[in-house]
Symmetry: C2
Subunit: 354 residues, 2 copies
DNA sequence: CTGAAAGCGCTTACAG
DNA sequence: CTGAAAGCGCTTACAG
């Protein structure tokens, strides 16, 4: 009984009935007062609030959610490669997650997080299960089974939104990848680099890397320059892939003087290889990454990179997931973060004149 | 009515009653069958399961939780400094969060994540609100207001566990910091470094840094060496603090040949300063960090560091939060991750003989 | 403005 | 082994 809180064992739950009794009002009045309903007298509200505080009462989220038909929480599933152990998974997604939590909190929502990798254990029906009002799916483009699963699920489960999905149906939010690729490439061209290679496996088909590559090609074409790519990427993580791509590219094209890597982690691998082969970054060789990862501040030299606006990304994802946004697809603007892996603008030049 | 799913507007929720009707059994039988109760015939169970699948039925988590008096979710609050914007917050906590999510998932629990920094908006009563069965608090030791809040809250709200709390009351899990500090320091001594400085502000009083410092002093004492610390740390992030500490220390003690930094981010700052002043890492100057952050693999040279076992940390935190573990406090073992910021063992030497 | 009552969708004694 | 019923703790029409 909630009338004897001194009972040993499990703590007794204080309910709105307890508050009602103590405040001398009906339970429904307690509910209204605490919900801030305008149809309750300030005087009663104050009394109820005081008693609630005294008793340490808080509305039970399950009960109110059940009754209201809402959950006031957003689910975020982060896809990982089965072979990635968590701490080594891509930190970029945790940075995005952070922004989502913040945006959710600002809208008065809680955030439920699910890390998923194993194919037998994929789930996305948080809405149906009454655990969330919408679901955001982000994460590694490399877990194609998982993406297939969610592509399928998306047909029956609405209020599912994707960040960087490798398919165009469904609702999604993405970086403005084409603009970002062009931005990075023009930045290199402006600084006098001419033989600029692209690093990023494209065989996954349409996707973010392909879009970044497109922007890269566009910018090169503007200046009559030729694209240049690696022919092969090993398995393994992005850093290893970047390393090997740079190895191969430099081997076959010793005249390369810059790299645009489709992600920061690829860029870290490129940087490692360039340094190893005695290349001088940024003077003889420029490098630009993509993602704006905070780890880019600690490498040597710090990595110049293209970063999506995570705050806007988070807001757009929430809006799409909660069905505010009818269209449900959108591009997030990117900006260039200048660090030190690209040399300064030649004296007397301004961006754009080459 | 759930009898007309073709109605436009909000999607109709399929309930256990719908399944029951279709399967020709009572609603309670549906519940039992889906819960895997042994007291339901295999034949009925199969029928129920089939119908549930056909109708796309899933148990409503709010309703079952309300009835069962559980939530099957764990809340994780991540404390940040008010001045830290999310993406720059300490990535270590996201790595720990990842491990917690994984451990939770293995126990069949969902994970609710809350990023908190502003003093007016601190909350930790997820259990009381029926949103979680336990709460784990991790995050920046520097938000002292927040820690004060939770120290207070912990007295009324049980099932609150802390990672690295700056106070000893309450339940907590921590790295074995003293052992870790000694481990790092002995590693440097074994490799021939003799003038080893400690980097890490201690003025926050008892806490993880102080424990690491203790281990550092222990190891030095074993070899008759003198401790050495910076006298002052600026405001700003850990990287800046590490940078300025190294600056001051090197200025006043040009003979320093190694640094043990109480966190990886401090170490990044130290590394930056040493490099800038022309120091040769690792040959003339060794550096060891603490945390095992993945960013340590991309700095140059990659950072040797002491890492807590995150998997064990996550499991211990869960156990303590869910009240399995009566004691509620514990130390997580640490290990040394050798990378390249410390030189190799002198020829003919083995660890321990100096 | 407040109260009495129904009902959100389950689980679990209680019967049989 | 299955069914009928109560009840978890709320919110919200419905009366007054």
């Amino acid at each position: 009984m909630s009338t004897d809180p001194s009972l040993p064992g499990k703590p007794v739950r204080v309910t709105s009935f307890d508050v009602a009794e103590r405040a001398g009002v009906n339970q429904s009045t307690v509910s209204r007062a605490l919900a801030g309903s305008p149809q309750v007298t300030p005087a009663t509200r104050e009394r109820v609030v005081a008693v609630a505080k005294e008793l340490g009462y808080t509305v039970d989220h399950r009960a109110s959610g059940l009754r209201k038909g809402r959950t006031d929480t957003i689910a975020v599933v982060i896809l990982q490669r089965p072979e990635d152990k968590t701490p080594t998974g891509n930190p970029f997604y945790f940075e995005l997650l952070g922004s989502i939590c913040e945006a959710a909190s600002e809208r008065g929502l809680e955030t439920l997080v699910s890390l998923q990798s194993e194919n037998g254990r994929l789930t996305g029906d948080y809405v149906k299960r009454g655990q969330a009002d919408g679901t955001i799916v982000i994460g590694s483009a490399r877990n194609s089974t998982a993406w297939g699963f969610f592509q399928q699920l998306q047909r029956s489960e609405s209020s599912l939104v994707f960040w960087g999905s490798p398919f165009d149906e469904a609702r999604w939010i993405r970086s403005d990848n084409v603009a970002g690729g062009a931005l990075a490439t023009r930045h290199l061209i402006d600084r006098g680099y001419r033989r600029i290679a692209f690093v990023g496996p494209l065989e996954t088909g349409p996707g973010q890397f392909a879009e970044r590559f497109e922007g890269y090609c566009d910018a090169l074409a503007e200046h009559g320059l030729e694209p240049l790519q690696a022919s092969h990427y090993p398995d393994g993580d992005r850093i290893a892939q970047g390393y090997h791509a740079a190895l191969e590219l430099l081997d076959r094209n010793p005249d390369i003087d810059a790299f645009f890597a489709a992600s920061d982690r690829l860029a870290f691998g490129v940087l490692e290889r360039v340094r190893e082969s005695g290349g001088d970054v940024p003077d003889k060789c420029g490098i630009v990454g993509f993602d704006g990862m905070s780890a880019g501040t600690v490498c040597n030299p710090p990595l110049t990179t293209v970063a999506p606006d995570l705050e806007k990304a988070a807001k757009a994802l929430l809006a799409a997931a909660l069905d505010d946004d009818k269209r449900g697809t959108g591009r997030v603007p990117v900006k260039l973060i200048e660090r030190a892996s690209v040399r300064a603008l030649p004296a007397g030049k301004s961006p754009g004149d080459c």
